[in-house]
Structures are given as C-alpha cells and as structure tokens.
Amino acid sequence: MSSGSSSFIARNKGMLMLMAPIVAFLAVFFAWPVVLVLANSFGGDGGPIGEYVEFFTSSTYVRIVIRTIFVALLVTGLCLLIGYPYAYLMVRTKGWTLAILTGVVLLSFFTSVMVRSFAWIVMLQRNGIIDNIAQFLGFDGLVLRGTTTGVTIAMVQVMLPFMIFPLYSAMAGIDTRMERASVSLGATKWTTFRDIWFPLSMPGVIGGSVIVFVTSLGFYVIPGLVGSPSNQLLSHLIYSLINTVLNIPLASAASVVMLLMALLVVLPAMMRFDVTGSSTSRFAGDEGRGERQSPWLWIWAAVVIALLLVPGLVVIPLSFPENRSFAFPPEGFSLKWYANFFESRQWWGAFITSLKVAVLVTLTSTILSVFAGLALRRASTQVRTVIRALVLTPRIVPGVIIALAVYGLFLDWRLNITTTGFVIAHTIMALPFAFIPIAATLEQFDTRFEQAAASLGASRITTFIHIILPLISTGMMTGALFAFVISFDEVVVSLFVGGVGMRTLPVQMFRSVANDIDPTIAAASTMLLLLTALIVIASTVLTQRRAR
C-alpha cells in the first residue's frame, strides 16, 4: 500500500469510521446479492452479451424502454409543474395555513400506495367516478384505466409529495432579503422570480426531480394495476420475464439497462448540483411569510389539495358495503369489514408486524443516515458524490431484482420470515429516503456552532447531543418519517421475504386485491387514513401551540 493512501486513511479516520456502517450494510445486504443476480445477464445461452443483443434487437423491448423513459420524464415534469407553485405558497405562508398545506401533503404521503392504486382503479375505469362525471356533463364518457394518461395521472399523484418536500426545504432556505433587494432595485416580480428565486431553488428542483424520475422508472404497483399490458413499462416486463418464463438472464439484462438509464440521469445531476442539500444561506428567517399571495396561487393550491386527497377519500365509502363487492357507489351499510379486520389473525397480525418492523426500520435507517451525514460533511466532493450514489441505488434497482437478491441471501442465512429479515430488507429500501433530508440538514448545519462548543471544552459526544442533535432534529424527523412510511408501505420485497405466520399489512392488502374482492382492505385503509389524519392534526396542533 502506498504511503499516499495510508495517509488518506489516517487523515480521514473519523469520516471513514462514520461511513463504515452504512457502506458495510449496503455492501453486504444490497450490492453483493444484487450484483450476483445481475451477473446472470452475462451468463445466458448466447454468450456474455447474448442477452443484451436479444434485448436491443427486439423492437418491442426497445419500444418499452422508450415508453418507460417517456412516462418517467412526463411524471417528473408534471410533478415539478404542479408541485412548484404549491411549495412556493408553502414558504410564503405561516401558522395554520402552512400547517394545513403541509398536513395535506403528509396525509397523502402516508396513504398506502396499495390503497391509492385501488382508488385510482375505481376512479378511472369505465363506469367509474370520472367516467360518470364526464357522462353527467354531457360528454361521451372518459375511460382512462389502461391508458398511459391514466397511469401518468396516478403516478403523479403518488409521486407529488416526493417533489414538494425537497422543493419546500430548498425554498425555505432562500434568503428572502435577496428578493427584496432585487425588487427595491427596480426588478419586476417576474424578473426577480426568474433570476433570483428560481436559480436559488434549483437544489430542490433537482433533488425532487431525481427522486421522482428514478422512482417512476422502476414503479411496479401503479402501472401494474392501473395500466394495461399493451402499454406496459420496463418494470412489468422484468416482472413477467421472471415470473412467467423464469428467464432470469434476460430479466437481469433489462434491469441493468434500467439501472444505467437511471445513473445516466442521476450522476450528472448530482455532479452539478448539491442534490441532497442546498448550499444557500441559512438566514432565511420568516420575512416574506404571511404576505398576500396571488389568488391564482390559492386556486392552484386548492386543485393540488383535491388531487392529493380525493383518492384516499374515495376508499372510505367502499368500506361499508353489505356484500363482498367493490361496486361504486356501494349498496347497503355494514360494519362487518371493520370487525373482520380486528378479528382476523391475517389482518390484525399483519398490521402488528408492519408496525413493529416499521418502527425498527425507522431507527436503523435514521441512525445509519445520521452517521453517513456526519461523515459527508467532512468528505471531499468526489467522495460525497460516490456515497450519495451508493445510498440512492436501492431506489434505482427494480424492486423485483432486490427481492430476488435479498431472498436468495436470506435463504442461506435463514432470515426469511423473521423480523430481522424484514428490518434489513426494508432498511435497504428506506435508506435513500431517510438519508436525503438528514444529510441535507447536516450539510447546511453551521460548523461554527460545533467549533464554539469545542472551544468551550465540550466533548464530541456532548457537542453532538446538545448542539448538533437539536439543530438537525427537523431533518431527522423528516428522514425518520420517510423511513417509517417506506417500510410501512413496501410490497414487492416483502412478498418474498414474508411467509407463513409473518406478513406485513401491504402484502396482506396486495394479496387481497390480487386474489379476492374483500372490502376489509377498504376498512383497513379507512382506519389507516383516520389514524394518519389524527397524527398529522395532533402534531400540527402541538407545533402551533409551541410556536405561540
């Protein structure tokens, strides 16, 4: 070993030690097994590149790739367009208005993707809600189920919170005095927005877009349930190659293609912009909040709120039918589906398992992310980019590939159908989401506080507990929240890792939607929705009281 590299290690000992847990975790439980699966793509019958030749010489597969990129870009663009004014309004409001605007996004974010896919089916199908409204208004009707438009709308609705949160956090960091300076120098509102505000919000724009784009590329649940096989996306192709013909080499090649597409977009964005945090000043303050905003912004916000909330609300009436049926509007009234949720070992047991796993995942991914975030602050730009890419990759690899990889590893280690196994698998999926907000706040964090504490004789640990922790609590809470939701909502990997006697709630819901018409899923969703609403409202009330 050269003296150069050993002195690098000596110089960066603290950073490397903080980095070690997350890197080791991802290397052992994610990178290694996934590489093993993807290596299959070079081991097909047609030689090392045989699968790739087959993939790219098929006009069908190429068309599916192009369609997937197109939909992902469209969803990203629409989320940005819809989310930007909303986030802008959020930073311009305070008190209850801000609390409501935030609460709505949180509520939507917390509503299970399974539930929302289900709601979108009810809304978009023929004789569905939208079709009936269109007919009522005198049109011929409007059936979006099975169309790319329908898939896009549903995906935008699901991805919107992932866009709004980073946008808000970047905008909240913008020094509003710059804006006032600009206006006082005679710039119009529009010029100020274009030349000052928008460029400063760029980290949020890029951060949100990267998450939305990458997630949309590999999305399985929504395109699978709302879309049609005749406009299928890459994730569906990979899934059916594996599940119906067991063609793992070709499926792996398709996954490598998807991975490369994602990296092609993500890496340049991360090189140019600080995706996980804004480098802007932190002296934003509350100035400019609570000013009168254009009525158009409010109308826009109202539309966004409707878009975010309606799918969740559609499910509520479906939880009371007399018969085992999802007809809309439902017939009769009965509470038996609620009773079934509490009485059935499958539903109640799955709920408890999910809760337990999600809490543990929240802990592990938050701790790993805080360590990594602390290390990131001391790292050089190149190291930062590499680490961010590593932590974000679980987002880029298709869920079914991760599922297959993790399942194989767990068979050897006897971790399937155990709490430990679930926690490990979900932590892989949750880390990208926990890491981004946590790393962002840690990077923005003013190191002078730390230096001041140190100069006054505080130990590192004291400084961490009394200075750093309170200052990064918002980012940490956001990251923890994300981790909880991701774990509580995960379907694809859990389908593999679970088994007899141990299943999570989304898997139970998935089984229920896939196998049977069981209004218990609507009852479970309604209760989850109410629980979420209560938590969001309670935390809002608490923060509002404290603010006074």
Partner: protein, 341 residues
C-alpha cells in the same frame, strides 16, 4: 445401576422421540395462489389431513416460480406441497419438482391432459365467455366467432393478460379452426385474429379484477375463469355464462425437490384427491373438481359456473398444455410483442 438405567431409558426415549420427529413432522406447508381459495383448501383438505395424521397443515401464498426455484437451488424448501399451473410441471419436472409416487402418477378418474409424472390435477376451472345481459337483452354472443364479431356485438371485451392456454386458442376457434385441430397453434393466424378486436379489449390481470369488471359492468362481454365469475353472479352482476367452446384448465399438485418429508407430502395429496375433500373444496370455493363425477352441493350461482356437469364436460375444449409448455418462451415473447406494437 438404577440411575444408569433411568439415564438409558431417557436417552432411548429422547432418541426415539427425535426419530419419530424425523418420520413425522408436526406441521407441513401447502402453497397455492393464496387468498380465500387457500382458506378453502385448508378448511377442507387441511382439516381432514390433520384429523387423520395429527400433522398441522399451514398455508402459504401466492406461490411464485422464482421463489420456488431459489428454495430448491438453496436446498431450503419450506413448501411441502405446491399447487401450480401444469405448464410449470411440464417444463420443470425433475428440475424443480420431484416425480410423484406411482399410485398418484396413475390415478384413475381424473380429467386427462393436465397431470404428468410430477403433477396431478387437483381442481380447476373453465375459461368461459360471459356477456352482459343489459347490453344484449335479446341474446348475446354464443361462441368465440361472435365474441370477435364487433359489428354484430359491439362493445368492450375483457380478456386475461396472459399468453398461455386461452387467448390464442379462442382467437383460432373464432377464425374457424375446429377445437381438435388447434395444435400446433398457428401463431401468426391467432395474432392476426386478435388484431381485429384489439381496440375493444380491456385486459384484466388478476382474477379479482375480472370479478370487478363484471360488477362494475366495465365490459359488455369477457373471457373469465368460472371460479371468478361466481362472486360477481352471486352479487347480482348482469352476466350470463356461455357454455360453448369453453376451455377447461386444472392446476396440479406437486412435491418440490428437496422437501423434508416427501411421503407426508404425498399423503396430503392423496387426501386432497379423495371424493369428500374434492366436493368440500368446491363447495367452499367455486372451483371444479379434477376428479370426474364429483357432485358437490352448490347454490344457484355455483351451478351456473360449475364446469363438470356431463353436458358441459362433453362440450369442453382441452388445451394441449405440453405443446404450450414446449413453446412457452416463443408464445410469451410473441404475446409481449403483439401487445406493445
């Protein structure tokens, strides 16, 4: 000395106990598509097996092929009995599934065309056409040719999103091919025929979706599994089954390679094939028994979708699944191509 004897006795009991444990597990796991069907199997066959052997039967599902492959490759098989589509056993007999004992391989009185050395058909369903009686009050389509006739019977058509065993066959029958001349399938001709109704197709992916399609009257006619038509008809969806040119389909029971107690697995399968269990399962869940002549006690909707009446069995089309299994990759590739071009 007495101590020694006691010790030996304890040791003997303990080793006998562990020997017994090796012979007879305290539970086995049966895997199929899951949901209420799994529950029906556990309530019917599972209970009967428990009473007979004292071995508890647990259920798992949905079973997937890649999961099974990984279990077998890692030699950690946790499913003692798995129910799968016959195409799987035809492709992976000896690789993922082990050969069944002789008596199960040569079981008499089961519907032919589905079992092989590694799989025996348990229960199944029919791929039937149903039409919406409110869309066609004066009588709807009566055969697959009508189903493909968009002028005589305009409207949306529901089809399963899958390539194997149904869609190509019904397209060819609609194009005038007699059921006994279907195989080898003329893929070009089948896809050309499917092209003619392409714009009117609504695909369903899971059985529950097809039920929902009937209840919400999303389509005017559809191909559905008889078992999934049942809940819709029971809830009063205005659909009428057409028992003409329907394609029957049975899933098979298998023993994966590397299970701990293949004898116990085989015993479970024997229990599942007994007339009492065959009838009970189809009373609990509207599947059609694989054993010919089983007469379950069914309600009105159940009778409407029961495929095993002598009359319906006589007019049934039996797919050549061995041909389908041999050409599985080609069929699936062409299907994906057709869908996306």
């Amino acid at each position: 000395m007495k101590k020694l004897i006691t010790f030996a006795a304890i040791a003997a009991t303990a080793s006998a106990g562990s020997l017994a444990a090796q012979d007879k597990p305290d539970h086995i796991v049966v895997a199929n598509t899951g949901g209420p069907y799994l529950q029906a199997v556990l309530d019917a066959t599972g209970k009967a097996f428990e009473e007979k052997t004292g071995i508890e039967v647990l259920g798992d599902g949905p079973q997937t092929l890649p999961q099974l492959q990984q279990m077998v490759q890692a030699d950690r098989v946790t499913w003692d009995v798995v129910e799968v589509p016959p195409v799987f056993t035809m492709r992976y007999c000896g690789e993922l599934f082990q050969e069944l004992p002789e008596d199960l391989q040569n079981y008499e009185n089961v519907l032919p065309g589905f079992g092989n050395k590694c799989g025996i058909n348990s229960v199944g369903y029919a791929n039937i056409m149903l039409y919406n009686t409110s869309a066609f009050p004066d009588g709807g389509p009566q055969n697959w040719a009508d189903f493909f006739d968009t002028e005589k019977f305009p409207g949306k058509r529901g089809l399963w999103d899958g390539a194997e065993g149904v869609n190509l066959e019904i397209a060819l029958m609609a194009d005038g091919v007699a059921p006994q001349d279907l195989y080898p399938l003329d893929l070009d001709r089948a896809f050309a025929k499917l092209d003619t109704i392409r714009d009117d197709i609504v695909f369903w992916r899971s059985g529950a979706q097809s039920t929902q399609m009937m209840e919400s009257e999303e389509v005017d006619m559809l191909m559905a599994w008889s078992s999934r038509a049942y809940p819709a008809l029971k809830n009063g969806a205005p659909f009428e089954p057409v028992w003409n040119q329907h394609i029957i389909y049975n899933n098979v029971l298998t023993i994966p390679k590397g299970v701990a107690h293949p004898d116990v697995s085989a015993d479970f399968i024997r229990t599942a094939m007994e007339a009492a269990q065959q009838a009970r399962v189809s009373e609990l869940y509207p599947v059609t028994p694989g054993v010919i002549g089983t007469e379950p006690d069914l309600d009105e909707a159940g009778q409407k979708v029961f495929a095993a009446t002598p009359e319906r069995a006589a007019s049934a089309v039996v797919p050549d699944l061995q041909w389908v299994a041999d050409n599985s990759e080609e069929i699936n590739r062409r299907w994906t191509e057709w869908l996306n071009n």
